[in-house]
Symmetry: D2
Subunit: 441 residues, 4 copies
């Protein structure tokens, strides 16, 4: 396009700067390619689905993550940049507060135009422009790299939402559509008893520390790193499994009010919950609807699609409790970040998709997000960044709970020990599970 | 396909029977072709839009009208018929009462699969099978012809819904998409005063009489023809115009509670009504969103997209009232059925689309449906037909009001003097207008 | 009491005028006394109950009916009149539209002050002032008499609401309070089959005619008297009984969607209806909560507390239909107005209370209001009266159905053949029943 | 009554035991007397008010606090005890979960019977029986004393609710009733700037320690005492005042979305908040409705009736934040518990009522509850007590925020440094205010 600046312009960069630009460019390309791969199996009709206000159509995710790069990098920093349609800034912003109820968040599924082809063209247009900016050896290259990195992590968050929103949208179709064909025979493992590992607690540090081993990207809400005091505790060596959950159901867990928080009981009654979301019983066996179509429930795999209310009731029934996020983070320590993530690895240079459903045998990371008992609150000394990006996380710090560890819908590159995701206690459509904790002896 | 019966099998038919089959076959072909023409300008994304429970996606209309022929003719009468997918019967039935809230009427917009291509193939499959049945010279040809005729009128009703549901769905898009390009310069006529024609009333007959000049198709609710007594009355010679409506608005009609029915006032306050649906003001001029995109409001054209509540308040403000449906039907008499309908006529053998918006200068038919003050109730002696088709209209006979005359979204072939359509008094998304009446002297 | 004004003040009146004033004064005194008698068994706490927006506290009814005389007679016509508290005009008007949601109709139960004693003092104050006006031999005595008559009929309507609102309010108390002790052993009659009487129909007249035998009071909506044409029909000789209704229930009437109007089915499912309001089953027998406390259901007595939706479904199940209001009024003809009303008669000069529950053996009047299939619409030529009183009935003419005949909660003096009451099709808390009709042969 | 055991039976008690019984008896008598004093100005009608589900009628508070002593002491421990009506156990329990929606929590205002007189008799009956049990020198006297103490603290919580629920109920009355006449001229103080006190933080202890200086009563949720780590911080020396709040309002605080949590903004828009609850503007001056009737807003007095959402937005606007509950408790330290509480002191042996509205000049306790940024969560090692009383606080530990310090509606005897009350972030009808905090330097 319009960015003809040759690579030789970067001659004045330090090797570290060059490495940084190279790494960010690779991250950008991989992230954008993953979004394209995620929608490759989808029809234009599939990409329109918005089953509820909490979810967005795939097409919107594709456009909104593109708008982010345009709005925060290209428009303010590239005077030659031209948007394919200035009205996209309005359509694909997250919050059209000023636009009134006819264009509210729950109406994203009514935006049939621009169509998918136009959105893919918009993506390509922005990618080309941004690649040129990254190549151009500009004075503000370091700042731009930081913003691109933020944009990539933002897009990875939306990749996770894209697949879980899609699962929710497709779940209303009586035909039970298959997003990805099953990869082999469905697993049916044995449900082994859980064991607990003791942790001494004491005065520990938590949160992201940019200057230490955790160097890299983190969100504002993971900082500052700070001290917190933990009593001795024990943490289960695996998430709660489907087999455990079926035992809870068979013991009448969904019908015993004494196990439930008062708000949780009211919610469960109002919604008619008697099993995790997407489960049904057929010929005496439990099935669930997944991104790989209908699947028999594997007793050994982590339970998924349970709300905080259900997780809390389960823990009480078990004579245990949910961990705090400090306990979880302290226990995770420097465990390597391996697990069942959205991307399974590389195959001939291109990323391959992961299992897309939780599987038995994982560790602290992947498979399911794990509810903690910690409300999503600011860390001591928290300060939101300046400017529009400052709205990133702070305004959500009420009524939500922190989950840790990532899931089978989380891109691997998004994960780190300090990562905090958060959802409302009634929500179930994400890959939400739990791991039990106990006070020490 | 499977229907090999040669045309010579029809040798035993009477000429009248043969004419009837020929006419019905032509009606079937024209009706099915019109549905295809209506969606020709649409993308798969456009055909997914379901903006509210009252509306359905275009794709659903296409499939549901096809299911009707399959369910009521092919399956019970053609033992060789095979559906492309037996699950379509579930997906495209009107009322999935047994299927629970996850598959309720307001979730039709979440059925991304089958996609548009599959639905078009389903249509072709059923059309081919039905054409063969019509050709086959069967003993039950007369019954089948009646059912095909019913199916065509059913499809025409859905054609009207298809375009008005589409208008509603597209209206949420801030880009204000254009379904059909404007046909020439937008009209801006002068708003002439209304005049009234006197009618003597007395004991009159109304309703459909199959044996008389009205011979042809009619719905159950138009029968039996019966006597009713009318006091002398006067009826306006044209519908209320946009210019009239602007005068009402400027006189504070939307703010004067004494003009409104109590339920109407509550509805108008709750919904924030201060103009017809799709209207907005820009630089001192009124605009409206139409199937031909944003258009300046033509003072001379009939007002459209007003609810019964608004129509009733307008009539009260005017010192007039809405007519009863008996008054309307008696006044219409045997006026020829001409007007601004969904189809404009024929051009080189193929139907052409009409104006798609109301225009000045029309008569009793076309442009806008006209609210009457008559609730939709059974005529004396009404009996619903036997069987599943018996549910056709009777179960709607509460809380709705009758409108007469057809609109610019109504296929011409659907109209007749006795035709009763009906909507709830709060609804506005159809092509709904009004014509005033007065008591005599 | 305080009525010392000598009759000689009225010396210039004609005997007819004097008779009219005497009659109206008696009506006023009897009406006001009945209101006092109705609340005599109630505590101040009982008089605060407002169980839903459709209902009002007894205290409010007492005050509002008093405000009517103050607002429309005393304030405009008696310059010496002083209200005990000018703010009552605001508190006890029907519609505080201008006052915003904090003082809306559904908040009447939150007006603890003025207390019952203050309201009773307000009543006495207005009664005294009005009696003086009636005695005074004024030039506008005829107009005042008309307004007092209207006020008395208005108060009688509120007497009916007072007892049915009270029944609804008390029904939420698990102690099942008794308003009036049962008058003898509860009836348990045999349920005899219904028989139908044939009516010829034809061109008939209906509505109130002030100049004929019906001379007396009527509401605007009962006029003008007008012609209407009826096909021959048959009308049942008694209302549908509890025994009939139990048969409907046992036949699965509440579970068979094909019997119901679509809106009715949705309402019944949403509300969980499976029997008339206030019914429950105990040891295999049906009981209902009544103004005389819990009572076993009498199979021979008319069913009560059923909605239009239920009445319509019952009629369809019976192979019959509801009558139109014209059919009902024509059949009633000049039947004497006798029956089970709110007041049973006179005992030592003072009125006595009636049964307060429907009983077997009645005629066209009393026991239960009878749903007709006629929506509440204006009669041909209807014109609301001028002024504030003009709002009386016209603004309710949408979405409601007419009932005829009065009930065991209706004051006898309120009834006449042309009387139209009206309720929404989902409402059940009034004394609502039904009588079947059929098309002739 | 039935408890004839002579005082000499207590001969075997230790002096400490005797002192304990004497103290508890005095607490019981004072608590019960305070409830009677609180309702002395109320009519039976006033005691029926239930303006919303969160609030209960005064009559219900009187009965429910009595039921507590009956249910947990008299019935299980006094075989001779007879309830005046066994059905009261059902009517006056907190949660009629099994009773279905017709008797749900929001229907307490529909229980007109038993009336106030019956409820007062119920109170006297239980008081007499309990006094006899306390006098009787029983073996389980210590356990009973603990339960009576719990019952008194329970009743004190309900006293606070009684007056704030009453204020809310009366606020719907356009007459703006006065619960207690103003005590002197309304204050109009000057609003002095706030100053901050520095606190070093570090590893501190918080929560109730029964064995230490805090010996006495505490709820389960205040335990166990535990360590927590605090960064250095600063705490304002006074609550936010009305003057401060008016500055926030005048600066457009209610209209600036960037100041608000996302859920808070949505709530404020939905509810139309633009000032604290009960405020209105009149002739350019702010007024508020209080338990002493309409009062001009005192700029120097603490602001009250603001939600967490408003408090959080105000703090952000101020460049400060809300304190955590650990910061608050640590700062309070062993400050004497003095302040503007529900009871002002003793006058001739009987308690007198306090100001009933917040006043300028107070310290950490009294006037207004102070929102903290701490969600209401279990302390590390929290275990709910066994049995029905175990439901006391644990089931509320979600979606609520902790407030500290007590208010002008809190009985003085209820307060201690570890006391945690909690409300939902949208609630405003309690005496809710705030005090600012800041991170140190």
């Amino acid at each position: 396009m319009t960015h003809a600046a040759p690579l030789s312009d970067t001659g004045s960069r330090s090797p570290a700067e060059t490495d940084r630009i190279t790494a960010i460019t690779a991250l950008f390309e991989a992230t954008r390619a993953r979004s394209r791969a995620l929608v490759a199996p989808l029809s234009p009709e599939d990409m329109m689905l918005q089953p509820m206000q909490d979810a967005s159509p795939a097409k919107w995710h594709l456009a909104h993550t593109t708008w982010f790069f345009e709005e925060f990098i290209l428009k303010p920093r590239d005077p030659d940049y031209r948007s394919p349609d200035d009205r996209f800034a309005f359509l694909f912003n997250s919050y059209y507060v000023q636009a009134g109820p006819r264009h509210a968040r729950d109406k994203r599924g009514l935006i049939s135009r621009p169509d998918v082809a136009d959105v893919m063209a918009y993506r390509a247009h922005v990618e080309q422009a941004l690649a040129a900016v990254l190549r151009a050896g500009r004075d503000d290259a370091a700042e731009i790299a930081d913003l691109v990195e933020l944009g990539c992590h933002h897009e990875m968050q939306h990749q996770e939402l894209l697949v879980t929103d899609l699962l929710n949208g497709l779940s209303y179709n009586p035909l039970l559509p298959v997003y990805q064909a099953p990869d082999g025979t469905p697993a049916k493992g044995e449900n082994h008893p859980v064991t607990y590992t003791a942790h001494a607690g004491g005065l520990v540090e938590m949160g992201f520390d940019g200057t230490a081993a955790q160097a890299g990207f983190a969100y504002d809400c993971e900082m500052p790193r700070h001290k917190t005091y933990l009593a001795p505790y024990q943490l289960a060596d695996r998430p709660v499994s489907n087999g455990d959950w079926i035992a809870f159901m068979e013991a009448g867990g969904y019908a015993d009010q004494t196990l439930w928080l008062m708000d949780g009981w009211a919610c469960a009654q109002r919604e008619g919950w008697d099993a995790p979301l997407y489960w049904w019983q057929q010929d005496g066996e439990w099935w669930s609807y997944t991104l790989r179509g209908p699947m028999p429930v594997d007793p050994a795999a982590p339970v998924v699609h349970v709300s905080y209310y259900e997780a809390d009731a389960f823990a009480r029934w078990s004579g245990a409790r949910l961990p705090t996020e400090a306990e979880w983070e302290s226990a995770a320590g420097d465990t390597p970040i391996r697990g069942n993530f959205l991307d399974a690895g590389e195959d001939d240079g291109a990323e391959t998709l992961g299992a897309l459903i939780p599987r038995a045998g994982g560790g602290m990371y992947g498979d399911v997000w794990e509810w903690t008992q910690s409300p999503f609150t600011p860390y001591p000394g928290f300060r939101p960044p300046e400017g529009a990006i400052g709205e990133y996380n702070g305004k959500f710090m009420v009524n939500q709970f922190v989950l840790r560890g990532g899931s089978c819908a989380t891109p691997r590159a998004q994960m780190r020990p300090s990562y905090r995701t958060f959802f409302y206690p009634h929500q179930r459509w994400q890959m939400l599970g739990l791991r039990l904790a106990r006070d020490a002896g």
